[in-house]
Protein backbone atom coordinates (compact mmCIF):
# COMPACT_ATOMS: atom_id res chain seq x y z
CA UNK A 1 0.00 0.00 0.00
CA UNK A 2 1.13 3.54 -0.75
CA UNK A 3 0.04 6.33 1.59
CA UNK A 4 -0.07 9.74 -0.03
CA UNK A 5 1.33 11.85 2.81
CA UNK A 6 -0.05 15.43 2.66
CA UNK A 7 3.43 16.89 3.26
CA UNK A 8 5.83 14.27 1.90
CA UNK A 9 3.95 12.79 -1.02
CA UNK A 10 3.56 9.06 -1.73
CA UNK A 11 5.25 6.86 0.91
CA UNK A 12 5.36 3.07 1.37
CA UNK A 13 2.95 1.97 4.12
CA UNK A 14 5.80 -0.06 5.63
CA UNK A 15 7.24 3.24 6.94
CA UNK A 16 4.15 3.69 9.11
CA UNK A 17 2.57 1.94 12.06
CA UNK A 18 -1.17 1.56 12.25
CA UNK A 19 -3.01 2.60 15.41
CA UNK A 20 -6.52 1.61 14.36
CA UNK A 21 -9.83 3.45 14.24
CA UNK A 22 -9.59 7.26 14.09
CA UNK A 23 -12.41 7.42 16.66
CA UNK A 24 -9.53 7.36 19.14
CA UNK A 25 -9.05 11.07 18.43
CA UNK A 26 -12.26 11.70 20.37
CA UNK A 27 -10.91 10.72 23.77
CA UNK A 28 -13.40 11.44 26.54
CA UNK A 29 -12.26 13.70 29.37
CA UNK A 30 -10.83 11.30 31.94
CA UNK A 31 -11.98 13.55 34.80
CA UNK A 32 -15.63 13.59 33.82
CA UNK A 33 -16.22 10.55 31.59
CA UNK A 34 -18.31 7.67 32.89
CA UNK A 35 -16.92 4.19 33.21
CA UNK A 36 -18.94 3.13 30.16
CA UNK A 37 -17.66 5.97 27.99
CA UNK A 38 -14.05 5.22 28.90
CA UNK A 39 -14.50 1.47 28.39
CA UNK A 40 -16.16 1.88 25.01
CA UNK A 41 -13.51 4.37 23.89
CA UNK A 42 -10.62 2.11 24.89
CA UNK A 43 -11.95 -1.32 23.96
CA UNK A 44 -14.84 -1.33 21.49
CA UNK A 45 -14.38 -0.85 17.74
CA UNK A 46 -16.75 -0.74 14.76
CA UNK A 47 -14.48 -2.90 12.56
CA UNK A 48 -16.57 -2.71 9.35
CA UNK A 49 -15.92 -4.44 6.02
CA UNK A 50 -15.63 -1.44 3.72
CA UNK A 51 -14.53 2.12 4.34
CA UNK A 52 -12.66 2.94 7.56
CA UNK A 53 -10.91 6.06 8.87
CA UNK A 54 -7.84 5.13 10.81
CA UNK A 55 -4.70 6.53 12.40
CA UNK A 56 -1.28 5.86 10.90
CA UNK A 57 1.94 7.13 12.50
CA UNK A 58 4.87 7.94 10.24
CA UNK A 59 7.43 6.34 12.51
CA UNK A 60 10.14 5.93 9.87
CA UNK A 61 9.51 9.40 8.49
CA UNK A 62 8.44 12.76 9.83
CA UNK A 63 6.64 11.27 12.86
CA UNK A 64 3.36 12.87 12.04
CA UNK A 65 0.01 11.23 12.68
CA UNK A 66 -2.27 10.83 9.69
CA UNK A 67 -5.94 10.00 9.30
CA UNK A 68 -6.21 7.63 6.35
CA UNK A 69 -9.52 6.67 4.72
CA UNK A 70 -9.12 3.15 3.39
CA UNK A 71 -11.29 0.28 2.21
CA UNK A 72 -10.78 -2.92 4.22
CA UNK A 73 -12.01 -5.11 1.36
CA UNK A 74 -9.82 -3.68 -1.43
CA UNK A 75 -7.07 -1.82 0.53
CA UNK A 76 -7.78 1.23 -1.67
CA UNK A 77 -6.85 4.52 0.03
CA UNK A 78 -9.16 7.40 -0.88
CA UNK A 79 -8.02 10.21 1.39
CA UNK A 80 -5.13 11.13 3.68
CA UNK A 81 -5.29 14.02 6.14
CA UNK A 82 -3.03 15.33 8.89
CA UNK A 83 -4.47 14.03 12.15
CA UNK A 84 -3.86 17.38 13.84
CA UNK A 85 -6.08 19.12 11.28
CA UNK A 86 -8.81 16.54 11.85
CA UNK A 87 -8.48 16.88 15.62
CA UNK A 88 -8.62 20.69 15.53
CA UNK A 89 -11.62 20.62 13.24
CA UNK A 90 -13.29 18.46 15.89
CA UNK A 91 -12.59 21.02 18.58
CA UNK A 92 -9.45 19.56 20.12
CA UNK A 93 -6.91 22.21 21.12
CA UNK A 94 -3.77 20.08 20.71
Amino acid sequence: MIINHPLLGPRDAAEFVNRGDACQIDRPDGMTASMDEMHDYAYLRDNPAGEVRELWYHEQGDRSWLVVTRNTLTHEITSVEMARDVARARGRST
Binding site: M1, D12, A13, A14, V17, N18, R19, G20, D21, M35, H39, D40, A42, Y43, L44, R45, D46, N47, P48, A49, V52, E54, R70, T72, L73, T74, H75
Partner: protein, 416 residues
Protein backbone atom coordinates in the same frame (compact mmCIF):
# COMPACT_ATOMS: atom_id res chain seq x y z
CA UNK B 1 -19.88 -46.04 8.89
CA UNK B 2 -16.97 -46.79 11.22
CA UNK B 3 -13.53 -46.40 9.67
CA UNK B 4 -10.87 -49.03 10.37
CA UNK B 5 -7.88 -50.73 8.75
CA UNK B 6 -10.12 -53.70 7.95
CA UNK B 7 -12.58 -51.37 6.20
CA UNK B 8 -9.81 -49.95 3.99
CA UNK B 9 -8.69 -53.47 3.13
CA UNK B 10 -12.14 -54.79 2.25
CA UNK B 11 -12.99 -51.63 0.31
CA UNK B 12 -9.70 -51.85 -1.54
CA UNK B 13 -10.47 -55.39 -2.57
CA UNK B 14 -13.98 -54.50 -3.77
CA UNK B 15 -13.15 -51.51 -5.94
CA UNK B 16 -13.80 -48.87 -3.25
CA UNK B 17 -17.47 -48.85 -4.24
CA UNK B 18 -18.89 -48.96 -0.71
CA UNK B 19 -17.76 -45.57 0.65
CA UNK B 20 -20.64 -43.24 1.47
CA UNK B 21 -20.64 -39.42 1.79
CA UNK B 22 -19.02 -38.32 5.03
CA UNK B 23 -21.97 -36.12 6.05
CA UNK B 24 -25.56 -35.51 4.87
CA UNK B 25 -26.68 -32.33 3.13
CA UNK B 26 -30.00 -31.60 4.85
CA UNK B 27 -32.36 -28.68 4.30
CA UNK B 28 -32.83 -26.53 7.40
CA UNK B 29 -35.73 -27.39 9.70
CA UNK B 30 -38.03 -24.64 10.98
CA UNK B 31 -36.67 -24.79 14.51
CA UNK B 32 -33.74 -26.12 16.55
CA UNK B 33 -32.76 -26.14 20.21
CA UNK B 34 -29.33 -24.75 19.39
CA UNK B 35 -28.05 -23.07 16.23
CA UNK B 36 -24.29 -22.72 15.83
CA UNK B 37 -23.32 -20.00 13.32
CA UNK B 38 -20.07 -20.77 11.48
CA UNK B 39 -18.85 -24.13 10.19
CA UNK B 40 -15.19 -23.59 10.98
CA UNK B 41 -13.23 -25.73 13.40
CA UNK B 42 -14.77 -24.20 16.50
CA UNK B 43 -18.37 -24.31 15.26
CA UNK B 44 -18.08 -27.94 14.20
CA UNK B 45 -16.36 -29.05 17.39
CA UNK B 46 -19.02 -27.21 19.41
CA UNK B 47 -21.74 -29.11 17.57
CA UNK B 48 -19.88 -32.39 17.98
CA UNK B 49 -19.50 -32.06 21.75
CA UNK B 50 -23.05 -30.73 22.13
CA UNK B 51 -24.32 -33.96 20.58
CA UNK B 52 -21.77 -36.36 21.99
CA UNK B 53 -21.02 -35.11 25.50
CA UNK B 54 -24.12 -33.13 26.37
CA UNK B 55 -26.79 -35.21 24.62
CA UNK B 56 -28.26 -32.32 22.64
CA UNK B 57 -30.53 -33.69 19.92
CA UNK B 58 -31.73 -30.72 17.86
CA UNK B 59 -28.60 -28.85 16.77
CA UNK B 60 -27.72 -27.18 13.47
CA UNK B 61 -24.52 -25.62 12.15
CA UNK B 62 -25.07 -22.83 9.60
CA UNK B 63 -22.10 -22.10 7.34
CA UNK B 64 -22.14 -19.32 4.75
CA UNK B 65 -19.65 -21.04 2.42
CA UNK B 66 -18.40 -24.60 2.47
CA UNK B 67 -16.93 -26.40 5.47
CA UNK B 68 -13.31 -25.47 5.95
CA UNK B 69 -13.44 -22.32 3.80
CA UNK B 70 -12.38 -20.11 6.72
CA UNK B 71 -9.33 -20.16 8.94
CA UNK B 72 -9.63 -23.83 9.82
CA UNK B 73 -8.43 -24.54 6.27
CA UNK B 74 -5.88 -21.71 6.16
CA UNK B 75 -3.77 -22.03 9.28
CA UNK B 76 -0.25 -23.37 9.78
CA UNK B 77 -1.59 -26.23 11.94
CA UNK B 78 0.54 -25.76 15.06
CA UNK B 79 -0.76 -27.08 18.38
CA UNK B 80 0.85 -26.35 21.75
CA UNK B 81 0.01 -25.42 25.32
CA UNK B 82 2.81 -23.00 26.18
CA UNK B 83 0.98 -20.02 27.65
CA UNK B 84 1.90 -18.15 30.81
CA UNK B 85 -1.25 -16.72 32.33
CA UNK B 86 -3.71 -18.36 34.66
CA UNK B 87 -6.80 -17.67 32.50
CA UNK B 88 -5.17 -19.28 29.45
CA UNK B 89 -2.78 -22.10 30.27
CA UNK B 90 -5.17 -24.63 31.87
CA UNK B 91 -7.55 -24.14 28.93
CA UNK B 92 -4.84 -24.75 26.31
CA UNK B 93 -3.51 -27.75 28.22
CA UNK B 94 -7.01 -29.22 28.26
CA UNK B 95 -7.09 -28.65 24.50
CA UNK B 96 -3.79 -30.46 24.00
CA UNK B 97 -5.11 -33.41 26.03
CA UNK B 98 -8.22 -33.51 23.84
CA UNK B 99 -5.99 -33.50 20.72
CA UNK B 100 -4.15 -36.50 22.10
CA UNK B 101 -7.33 -38.58 22.21
CA UNK B 102 -9.16 -36.94 19.33
CA UNK B 103 -8.64 -39.41 16.51
CA UNK B 104 -9.88 -42.35 18.57
CA UNK B 105 -12.70 -40.21 19.90
CA UNK B 106 -14.11 -39.18 16.52
CA UNK B 107 -12.79 -42.17 14.54
CA UNK B 108 -11.05 -40.10 11.88
CA UNK B 109 -7.41 -39.69 10.93
CA UNK B 110 -6.51 -36.07 11.69
CA UNK B 111 -2.77 -36.79 11.52
CA UNK B 112 -2.12 -35.47 15.03
CA UNK B 113 1.66 -35.43 15.13
CA UNK B 114 3.36 -34.54 18.42
CA UNK B 115 6.70 -33.72 16.90
CA UNK B 116 7.50 -31.03 19.47
CA UNK B 117 7.79 -27.27 19.42
CA UNK B 118 11.00 -25.35 20.11
CA UNK B 119 10.99 -21.62 20.88
CA UNK B 120 14.51 -20.24 20.53
CA UNK B 121 16.07 -17.97 23.14
CA UNK B 122 18.41 -15.16 22.04
CA UNK B 123 19.05 -13.12 25.21
CA UNK B 124 19.30 -13.43 29.00
CA UNK B 125 16.00 -11.67 29.77
CA UNK B 126 14.30 -13.91 27.24
CA UNK B 127 15.70 -16.97 29.00
CA UNK B 128 14.31 -15.69 32.32
CA UNK B 129 10.91 -15.14 30.71
CA UNK B 130 10.88 -18.57 29.09
CA UNK B 131 11.97 -20.35 32.28
CA UNK B 132 9.11 -18.64 34.07
CA UNK B 133 6.74 -19.66 31.31
CA UNK B 134 8.03 -23.23 31.47
CA UNK B 135 7.27 -23.32 35.18
CA UNK B 136 3.76 -22.01 34.58
CA UNK B 137 3.26 -24.70 31.96
CA UNK B 138 4.43 -27.45 34.27
CA UNK B 139 2.19 -26.17 37.07
CA UNK B 140 -0.78 -26.67 34.74
CA UNK B 141 0.31 -30.26 34.08
CA UNK B 142 1.91 -29.55 30.71
CA UNK B 143 5.45 -30.46 29.67
CA UNK B 144 8.30 -28.00 29.20
CA UNK B 145 12.05 -28.49 28.94
CA UNK B 146 14.75 -25.82 28.79
CA UNK B 147 17.40 -26.80 26.24
CA UNK B 148 20.97 -25.51 26.08
CA UNK B 149 22.81 -25.06 22.80
CA UNK B 150 23.97 -28.67 22.68
CA UNK B 151 20.45 -29.86 23.34
CA UNK B 152 19.22 -27.80 20.38
CA UNK B 153 22.10 -29.00 18.17
CA UNK B 154 20.99 -32.60 18.62
CA UNK B 155 17.61 -31.78 17.15
CA UNK B 156 18.36 -28.95 14.73
CA UNK B 157 22.06 -28.76 13.81
CA UNK B 158 21.31 -26.55 10.81
CA UNK B 159 20.39 -23.45 12.84
CA UNK B 160 22.63 -20.38 12.65
CA UNK B 161 23.85 -20.66 16.26
CA UNK B 162 26.39 -17.83 16.10
CA UNK B 163 24.39 -15.36 14.06
CA UNK B 164 26.00 -11.92 14.50
CA UNK B 165 22.87 -10.20 15.72
CA UNK B 166 20.78 -13.02 17.17
CA UNK B 167 23.01 -15.80 18.52
CA UNK B 168 21.03 -18.75 19.82
CA UNK B 169 21.44 -19.19 23.57
CA UNK B 170 18.91 -21.92 24.27
CA UNK B 171 15.30 -22.88 23.78
CA UNK B 172 12.14 -23.90 25.52
CA UNK B 173 10.94 -27.22 24.16
CA UNK B 174 7.48 -28.69 24.49
CA UNK B 175 7.70 -32.30 23.30
CA UNK B 176 3.90 -32.75 23.23
CA UNK B 177 3.36 -29.80 20.88
CA UNK B 178 3.22 -30.43 17.16
CA UNK B 179 1.00 -30.23 14.10
CA UNK B 180 -2.36 -31.60 12.95
CA UNK B 181 -3.89 -31.93 9.48
CA UNK B 182 -6.22 -28.90 9.66
CA UNK B 183 -8.95 -29.79 7.13
CA UNK B 184 -9.19 -33.29 8.55
CA UNK B 185 -10.09 -31.71 11.88
CA UNK B 186 -13.06 -29.96 10.26
CA UNK B 187 -14.09 -33.09 8.39
CA UNK B 188 -13.71 -35.36 11.41
CA UNK B 189 -15.79 -33.11 13.66
CA UNK B 190 -18.37 -32.63 10.89
CA UNK B 191 -18.70 -36.35 10.37
CA UNK B 192 -18.92 -37.02 14.10
CA UNK B 193 -21.57 -34.34 14.59
CA UNK B 194 -23.58 -35.36 11.53
CA UNK B 195 -23.68 -39.01 12.54
CA UNK B 196 -25.13 -37.93 15.89
CA UNK B 197 -27.95 -36.04 14.21
CA UNK B 198 -26.55 -32.51 13.86
CA UNK B 199 -27.75 -30.78 10.67
CA UNK B 200 -24.79 -29.18 8.91
CA UNK B 201 -26.15 -26.64 6.45
CA UNK B 202 -23.65 -25.18 4.00
CA UNK B 203 -24.16 -22.14 1.77
CA UNK B 204 -26.44 -20.70 4.43
CA UNK B 205 -25.38 -17.20 5.49
CA UNK B 206 -26.80 -15.71 8.65
CA UNK B 207 -27.90 -12.16 7.84
CA UNK B 208 -29.54 -11.13 11.10
CA UNK B 209 -31.08 -12.17 14.40
CA UNK B 210 -34.65 -12.30 15.66
CA UNK B 211 -34.33 -10.26 18.83
CA UNK B 212 -37.29 -8.93 20.77
CA UNK B 213 -37.33 -7.48 24.28
CA UNK B 214 -33.75 -8.56 24.84
CA UNK B 215 -34.39 -12.18 23.87
CA UNK B 216 -32.96 -13.88 20.79
CA UNK B 217 -35.30 -16.48 19.35
CA UNK B 218 -33.75 -17.29 15.99
CA UNK B 219 -31.85 -16.11 12.94
CA UNK B 220 -32.48 -14.73 9.46
CA UNK B 221 -30.53 -16.55 6.79
CA UNK B 222 -30.10 -16.72 3.03
CA UNK B 223 -32.29 -19.85 3.26
CA UNK B 224 -35.02 -18.15 5.28
CA UNK B 225 -35.75 -17.63 8.97
CA UNK B 226 -34.91 -20.39 11.46
CA UNK B 227 -36.05 -20.43 15.08
CA UNK B 228 -33.83 -21.53 17.94
CA UNK B 229 -33.86 -21.53 21.72
CA UNK B 230 -30.17 -20.69 21.75
CA UNK B 231 -27.99 -19.10 19.07
CA UNK B 232 -24.23 -19.58 19.29
CA UNK B 233 -22.06 -17.27 17.17
CA UNK B 234 -18.72 -18.79 16.20
CA UNK B 235 -17.52 -16.96 13.09
CA UNK B 236 -13.86 -16.03 13.85
CA UNK B 237 -12.78 -13.25 11.43
CA UNK B 238 -16.40 -12.23 10.78
CA UNK B 239 -17.21 -11.71 14.49
CA UNK B 240 -17.68 -7.93 14.33
CA UNK B 241 -19.83 -8.08 11.17
CA UNK B 242 -22.16 -10.72 12.58
CA UNK B 243 -22.44 -9.16 16.04
CA UNK B 244 -23.15 -5.77 14.46
CA UNK B 245 -26.41 -7.21 13.10
CA UNK B 246 -27.34 -7.94 16.74
CA UNK B 247 -26.54 -4.31 17.58
CA UNK B 248 -23.37 -5.21 19.48
CA UNK B 249 -19.85 -3.81 19.22
CA UNK B 250 -17.18 -6.29 20.30
CA UNK B 251 -13.58 -5.70 21.47
CA UNK B 252 -12.20 -7.15 18.23
CA UNK B 253 -10.49 -5.97 15.04
CA UNK B 254 -10.09 -8.09 11.88
CA UNK B 255 -6.53 -8.48 10.63
CA UNK B 256 -4.85 -10.67 8.02
CA UNK B 257 -2.22 -13.32 8.75
CA UNK B 258 -0.27 -14.83 5.86
CA UNK B 259 1.11 -18.34 5.48
CA UNK B 260 3.69 -19.77 3.09
CA UNK B 261 4.54 -23.23 1.74
CA UNK B 262 7.64 -24.26 -0.22
CA UNK B 263 8.14 -27.08 -2.68
CA UNK B 264 8.39 -30.55 -1.11
CA UNK B 265 11.78 -31.35 0.39
CA UNK B 266 13.28 -34.36 2.12
CA UNK B 267 12.71 -34.31 5.90
CA UNK B 268 14.83 -31.51 7.34
CA UNK B 269 12.86 -29.72 10.05
CA UNK B 270 12.37 -31.98 13.09
CA UNK B 271 9.33 -30.29 14.68
CA UNK B 272 8.07 -26.75 14.98
CA UNK B 273 10.78 -24.11 15.40
CA UNK B 274 10.19 -20.47 16.25
CA UNK B 275 12.59 -17.53 16.09
CA UNK B 276 12.75 -15.59 19.36
CA UNK B 277 14.16 -12.29 18.13
CA UNK B 278 11.82 -11.64 15.23
CA UNK B 279 8.63 -13.37 14.21
CA UNK B 280 9.08 -16.53 12.19
CA UNK B 281 7.86 -20.08 12.76
CA UNK B 282 8.29 -23.14 10.61
CA UNK B 283 7.39 -26.81 10.43
CA UNK B 284 7.53 -29.38 7.65
CA UNK B 285 4.37 -31.00 6.36
CA UNK B 286 4.15 -34.74 5.79
CA UNK B 287 4.30 -34.02 2.05
CA UNK B 288 7.64 -32.28 2.62
CA UNK B 289 6.71 -28.62 2.14
CA UNK B 290 8.11 -26.14 4.64
CA UNK B 291 5.10 -24.40 6.18
CA UNK B 292 5.94 -21.06 7.70
CA UNK B 293 4.63 -17.67 8.77
CA UNK B 294 5.27 -14.67 10.97
CA UNK B 295 3.53 -11.46 12.00
CA UNK B 296 0.10 -10.26 11.01
CA UNK B 297 0.10 -7.45 8.47
CA UNK B 298 -0.92 -4.92 11.10
CA UNK B 299 -3.92 -3.04 9.66
CA UNK B 300 -7.64 -3.85 9.70
CA UNK B 301 -8.68 -5.87 6.66
CA UNK B 302 -11.25 -8.32 5.36
CA UNK B 303 -9.31 -9.10 2.18
CA UNK B 304 -8.02 -12.65 2.51
CA UNK B 305 -4.62 -11.63 1.22
CA UNK B 306 -1.69 -9.71 2.65
CA UNK B 307 0.95 -7.32 1.37
CA UNK B 308 4.61 -7.61 0.44
CA UNK B 309 6.37 -5.92 3.42
CA UNK B 310 5.33 -8.78 5.69
CA UNK B 311 6.50 -11.34 3.13
CA UNK B 312 9.92 -9.71 3.24
CA UNK B 313 9.91 -9.57 7.04
CA UNK B 314 8.96 -13.23 7.41
CA UNK B 315 11.61 -14.36 4.94
CA UNK B 316 14.26 -12.25 6.70
CA UNK B 317 13.31 -13.93 9.97
CA UNK B 318 13.70 -17.34 8.37
CA UNK B 319 17.09 -16.48 6.88
CA UNK B 320 18.29 -15.16 10.26
CA UNK B 321 17.94 -18.53 11.97
CA UNK B 322 18.17 -21.09 9.18
CA UNK B 323 20.00 -19.73 6.12
CA UNK B 324 19.64 -23.14 4.46
CA UNK B 325 16.02 -22.41 3.57
CA UNK B 326 17.10 -19.57 1.29
CA UNK B 327 17.24 -21.92 -1.66
CA UNK B 328 13.83 -23.49 -1.16
CA UNK B 329 11.30 -22.23 -3.69
CA UNK B 330 8.00 -20.87 -2.46
CA UNK B 331 5.01 -22.64 -3.96
CA UNK B 332 2.01 -20.99 -2.38
CA UNK B 333 1.06 -18.20 -0.02
CA UNK B 334 -2.31 -17.02 1.23
CA UNK B 335 -3.98 -15.06 4.00
CA UNK B 336 -6.80 -15.54 6.46
CA UNK B 337 -8.85 -12.94 8.33
CA UNK B 338 -8.45 -13.17 12.06
CA UNK B 339 -10.47 -11.92 14.96
CA UNK B 340 -7.78 -10.03 16.91
CA UNK B 341 -9.03 -9.13 20.38
CA UNK B 342 -8.01 -6.21 22.55
CA UNK B 343 -5.82 -8.32 24.84
CA UNK B 344 -4.93 -11.15 22.49
CA UNK B 345 -7.16 -13.65 24.31
CA UNK B 346 -10.51 -15.15 23.27
CA UNK B 347 -14.12 -14.97 24.45
CA UNK B 348 -16.50 -17.83 25.23
CA UNK B 349 -19.47 -16.16 26.85
CA UNK B 350 -23.16 -15.37 26.87
CA UNK B 351 -24.13 -11.86 25.72
CA UNK B 352 -26.49 -9.39 27.40
CA UNK B 353 -29.14 -10.64 24.94
CA UNK B 354 -30.86 -13.76 26.33
CA UNK B 355 -30.26 -16.82 24.17
CA UNK B 356 -27.38 -15.22 22.23
CA UNK B 357 -23.88 -16.57 22.87
CA UNK B 358 -20.50 -15.51 21.52
CA UNK B 359 -17.26 -17.38 20.80
CA UNK B 360 -14.44 -15.43 19.11
CA UNK B 361 -11.31 -13.33 19.47
CA UNK B 362 -9.01 -16.28 18.73
CA UNK B 363 -6.39 -14.15 17.05
CA UNK B 364 -3.70 -16.12 15.20
CA UNK B 365 -3.79 -18.99 17.69
CA UNK B 366 -7.23 -20.54 17.62
CA UNK B 367 -6.45 -23.73 15.74
CA UNK B 368 -4.81 -25.36 18.74
CA UNK B 369 -7.86 -24.35 20.76
CA UNK B 370 -10.35 -26.09 18.45
CA UNK B 371 -11.18 -29.07 20.71
CA UNK B 372 -11.31 -27.17 24.02
CA UNK B 373 -13.13 -24.20 22.51
CA UNK B 374 -15.87 -26.49 21.21
CA UNK B 375 -16.01 -28.46 24.45
CA UNK B 376 -16.22 -25.37 26.67
CA UNK B 377 -18.70 -23.59 24.40
CA UNK B 378 -20.89 -26.70 24.36
CA UNK B 379 -20.63 -26.84 28.15
CA UNK B 380 -21.79 -23.22 28.45
CA UNK B 381 -24.60 -23.67 25.92
CA UNK B 382 -25.92 -26.88 27.37
CA UNK B 383 -25.44 -26.45 31.13
CA UNK B 384 -25.71 -22.66 31.31
CA UNK B 385 -22.45 -22.32 33.23
CA UNK B 386 -18.91 -21.87 31.91
CA UNK B 387 -16.50 -24.80 31.85
CA UNK B 388 -13.98 -24.48 34.74
CA UNK B 389 -11.04 -23.91 32.35
CA UNK B 390 -12.82 -21.14 30.43
CA UNK B 391 -14.21 -18.91 33.18
CA UNK B 392 -11.88 -16.02 32.31
CA UNK B 393 -13.05 -15.65 28.70
CA UNK B 394 -15.73 -13.09 29.55
CA UNK B 395 -16.88 -10.32 27.23
CA UNK B 396 -16.92 -7.84 30.13
CA UNK B 397 -13.38 -8.53 31.30
CA UNK B 398 -12.05 -5.12 30.19
CA UNK B 399 -14.71 -3.38 32.23
CA UNK B 400 -13.65 -5.49 35.22
CA UNK B 401 -9.94 -4.87 34.68
CA UNK B 402 -9.37 -8.59 34.11
CA UNK B 403 -7.51 -8.53 30.79
CA UNK B 404 -5.59 -11.67 29.82
CA UNK B 405 -2.73 -9.99 28.02
CA UNK B 406 0.01 -12.61 27.43
CA UNK B 407 2.27 -10.14 25.63
CA UNK B 408 1.55 -7.13 27.84
CA UNK B 409 0.76 -4.92 24.85
CA UNK B 410 -2.42 -3.18 25.99
CA UNK B 411 -5.50 -2.47 23.92
CA UNK B 412 -3.85 -2.59 20.52
CA UNK B 413 -4.88 -5.71 18.59
CA UNK B 414 -2.17 -5.43 15.94
CA UNK B 415 0.53 -5.83 18.59
CA UNK B 416 -0.71 -9.07 20.14
Amino acid sequence: MRYSALKILTQGLTGNKGWTPVWREPEPQAEYDIIVIGGGGHGLSTAYYLAKEFGEKRVAVLEKGWLGSGNIGRNTTIIRSNYLLEGNQPFYEMSLKLWEGLEQDFNYNAMVSQRGIMNLIHSDPQRDAFVRRGNAMRLSGADAVILDRDGIREKAPFLDFDNGRFPIQGAIWQPRGGTVRHDAVAWGYARGADSRGVDIIQNCEVTGFQIENGVCSGVETSKGAIKAKKVAVCVAGSSSRVMETAGMRVPIESHVLQAFVTEGLKPVIPGVITFGAGHFYVSQSDKGGLVFGGDIDGYNTYAQRGNLPVVEDVCEGGMAIMPMIGRARLLRMWGGVMDMSMDGSPFIDRTHIDGLYFNGGWCYGGFKATPASGFCYAHLLSTGSPHPTATAYRLDRFRQGRQIDEKGMGNQPNLH
